[in-house]
């Protein structure tokens, strides 16, 4: 949890949406891919900052990095993975589970058990269908 929070802070990058912009550039490059140093140039960032972002996106499985020789020098070519190219889907089965689309999900997740036990929506889903009818 802590390390994730640290990662997310890193991803904010001073509000510059750098990760998103890198992903947009890589997506737009298509099958041919784009040279890592061209990404730095377009976004006007240094390789130290850029490498962190690239490594993170590679870990998330959104981009791949391969070494190619360009004008006699070894450089990195960045390509979009199938995961990045695909548009995420929202399977219809999710509609049947009350918590997934609930606006209070973050609150229940961070809160105590009492919250989960007293949730009206969850109780209705769980109990209404099976509690014996009233006498």
């Amino acid at each position: 949890m802590q390390s994730e929070e640290r990662e997310l802070k890193l991803s904010e990058g001073g509000g510059e949406q750098l990760e998103k912009r890198v992903l947009d550039i890589v997506s737009a490059a298509g099958e041919a891919g784009v040279l890592q140093r061209d990404i730095w140039r377009i976004l006007n960032i240094d390789s130290r900052k850029g490498s962190k972002i690239i490594k993170r996106l590679e870990r998330m499985g959104l981009i791949s990095r391969e070494v190619v020789v360009h004008k006699g020098r070894k450089v990195y070519l960045i390509k979009a993975t199938p995961k990045l190219r695909q548009i995420p889907k929202l399977p219809s089965e999710l509609d049947e589970i009350p918590c997934f689309y609930c606006p209070l999900l973050p609150v229940c997740f961070a809160g105590d058990l009492a919250r989960i036990l007293t949730c009206e929506k969850l109780n209705r889903w769980l109990l209404d269908s099976y509690l014996p009818p009233r006498a």
Partner: protein, 167 residues
């Protein structure tokens, strides 16, 4: 902005309703906007826009940039879509939903339950043991309840959530 961001609009609409969906669609189009700009563009009252923006922020679907207005001294908030990749947002929601349902399952499994045949209320063992297994509201004798249906429903939902692939 890519087509993938449209998923965020669908998600926002399902979680927070129609206004949220329209806000996200507007942000996809313009990139960044203040609450006032959104209110004007969408023709929705600013109080509603602010409330929904805060909800969207809680769900990590939007982020903001705060700028101090030098003349007036107050802050302006520029809202934009989350920087996170949509799949990551969905995975995060899935993880949280699974955790919530697992906590509920754990409680259901480690307790026995009773119900009142008269008023239909369900009680845990601890709630009614001191009351000689009578309903605290109407005094009717309580009956034991088979908890397996509830645990099965929860287990099925957890399994389903864990099996879904978003990409």
């Amino acid at each position: 902005m890519s087509e993938k961001d449209q998923v965020l609009a669908i998600l926002a609409r399902k979680i927070h309703g129609e206004v949220a969906g329209r806000i996200i669609e507007r942000l996809i189009k313009v990139g960044e906007a203040t609450d006032e700009q959104l209110s004007q563009a969408l023709g929705i009252e600013i109080g509603t826009i602010r409330r929904v923006l805060n909800e969207l922020y809680e769900s990590r679907l939007v982020k903001y940039r705060r700028v101090r207005d030098e003349e007036q001294g107050w802050y302006l908030y520029y809202w934009r879509l989350t920087d996170e990749y949509p799949t990551r947002v969905l995975e995060e929601r899935r993880r949280k939903a699974v955790e919530v349902l697992k906590r509920r399952l754990e409680f259901e499994k480690s307790n026995s339950f009773f119900y009142c045949p008269s008023c239909g209320t369900r009680f845990s063992f601890d709630e009614v043991a001191d009351n000689m297994f009578r309903c605290p509201y109407c005094g009717t004798d309580l009956e034991a309840l088979d908890g397996s249906l509830v645990t099965e429903k929860l287990e099925k939902a957890i399994k389903l959530l864990e099996s879904i692939k978003f990409e």
